[in-house]
């Protein structure tokens, strides 16, 4: 049993779950019905991915726990999601931008993991990749519509890009557990993923007339359990029922 591997799987699962939960907050609040449905559809894909990864992690750990233990009974410091995934929705532009930054990372990540020597992980990646392609198409198209739209929409998406940029550094900044897995070639090198991610940024920013922010200070910590104050509120919302009524089932 490789603790580093479990941490990596949990980090991926947590990012998917928290992002799915965040997107789900749009349910009934979308700017138009079609995009409300789009965001909740994508949320469903993320929660589905989280479930596959959590189930795998519990089998790895072999403590007889289920996916629900991992999703509903861990505290903030145990969550290893990227800070970007817990960032509040703010407005539609922020949500689109957050999705775009992450979608552009998941596509090359899962492309690489699809041929991983761990079959189980490879199969989850292969399945998720199909969905990541249309997630990225959705967020890219909206980046362009907003960026190359009205003065108001351009202003909103540019300010989302400017404010969220500081959370993108963490994506490619390998933690100790990721470095150890990379040394053994068990997960891809982030430098190669970053090249692909940046190419997507450049081409979409260009078409969207968005100015790429300068690389300055980058926030990090999420993958090691150090979060913004926002995560606690999501967990409170998400875990309330299981905490109040332990073991409750539908």
């Amino acid at each position: 049993m490789d603790k580093n591997k479990i941490d990596f799987i949990l980090s991926q699962a947590d990012t998917a779950l928290i992002l799915g939960q965040r997107l789900g907050e749009w349910c009934g609040h979308g700017p138009v019905l079609e995009q409300d449905i789009a965001m909740t559809n994508i949320a469903l894909d993320y929660v589905g991915r989280a479930r596959l990864l959590y189930t795998y992690a519990t089998e790895f750990e072999g403590k007889g726990e289920t996916e629900d233990h991992l999703a509903f009974l861990r505290d903030e410091r145990e969550f290893k999601n990227l800070l970007l995934s817990e960032h509040p929705n703010v407005d539609f532009a922020f949500t689109v931008c957050r999705q775009f930054f992450l979608d552009a990372y998941f596509v090359p990540l899962f492309e690489a993991l699809s041929s991983n020597e761990d079959n189980r992980l490879a199969h989850i990646a292969e399945k998720s990749l199909k969905e990541c392609h249309y997630h990225l198409r959705w967020s890219s198209e909206w980046m362009i519509r907003l960026g190359d739209g009205t003065e108001e929409s351009h202003h909103r998406i540019q300010s989302a890009v400017d404010k969220l940029w500081e959370y993108t550094g963490e994506i490619f900044d390998a933690t100790d557990y990721e470095k150890k897995l990379q040394e053994k070639n068990l997960i891809p090198q982030y430098s190669t993923l970053k090249i692909k991610w940046e190419a997507t940024m450049v081409s979409v920013f260009d078409e969207a007339k968005i100015i790429k922010p300068k690389d300055n200070w980058f926030q990090k910590g999420g993958k090691n359990g150090i979060h913004t104050e926002k995560l606690g509120f999501i967990l409170a919302d998400m875990q309330y029922i299981q905490r109040a009524y332990p073991g409750l089932e539908w």
């Binding site: 559809n41 596959l52 292969e126």
Partner: protein, 181 residues
């Protein structure tokens, strides 16, 4: 690969002295093949390609299914329906496996399934699967009601994860399109 054309429904109430089913593998397979998708009730799980195989290994029936989309909420219900049917048929020794590989694809959908979808008012997936360019939509989609190709996408995301919402510019009806995956 399951053949969804095997449609004769076996009698399920014939039991042996121990009260177990006497159905053979082929009959069990054809029984399970007729379970329908909870969200698209005109299609069976065999039509959709969700049911991958039904085998008998050491006296145990092994059923393999695969999800369409990772978050498909129908999977739990499909598994439950398979269990209910097998229990009702007094088949006691079985196991249901869920596999992810190879990843489900709409190209597995049977011709029969495509026909049934269209009759139900859902445009079936076009055969070509490719990664689309931005703003390119999903290619030519035919209206299931009037067969016009003069259609436009309203939203790539619709009532379920597997469908998009379209509008026919000739008969003016909105319709669902089962997207390529």
């Amino acid at each position: 690969m399951i053949d969804p054309t095997k449609n004769s429904k076996p009698e399920i109430d014939q039991l042996n002295e121990q009260g177990s089913s006497i159905l053979n593998l082929q009959e069990i397979e054809s029984l399970i093949s007729q379970i329908t998708d909870p969200e698209i009730p005109v299609l069976t799980i065999a039509d959709l390609g969700i049911l991958r195989s039904v085998k008998k290994i050491n006296d145990r029936i092994e059923i393999t299914i695969t999800p369409t989309y990772v978050g498909c909420p129908a999977m739990g219900m499909i598994e439950m329906n398979i269990k209910a049917l097998l229990d009702e048929s007094k088949i006691k020794n079985y196991i249901i496996h869920t596999v992810l590989h190879p990843a489900w694809s709409t190209s597995w959908m049977s011709e029969e399934g495509r026909k049934k979808l269209k009759e139900f008012g859902i445009a079936p997936p076009s055969q070509k699967i490719r990664i689309q360019k931005l703003f390119e939509g999903q290619g030519i989609v035919e209206c299931p009601r009037c067969n016009s190709t003069n259609t436009e996408m309203i939203s790539e995301f619709a009532s379920t994860a597997c469908k998009s919402l379209y509008r026919c510019k000739d008969c003016l009806e909105a319709f669902d399109y089962f997207k390529c995956h």
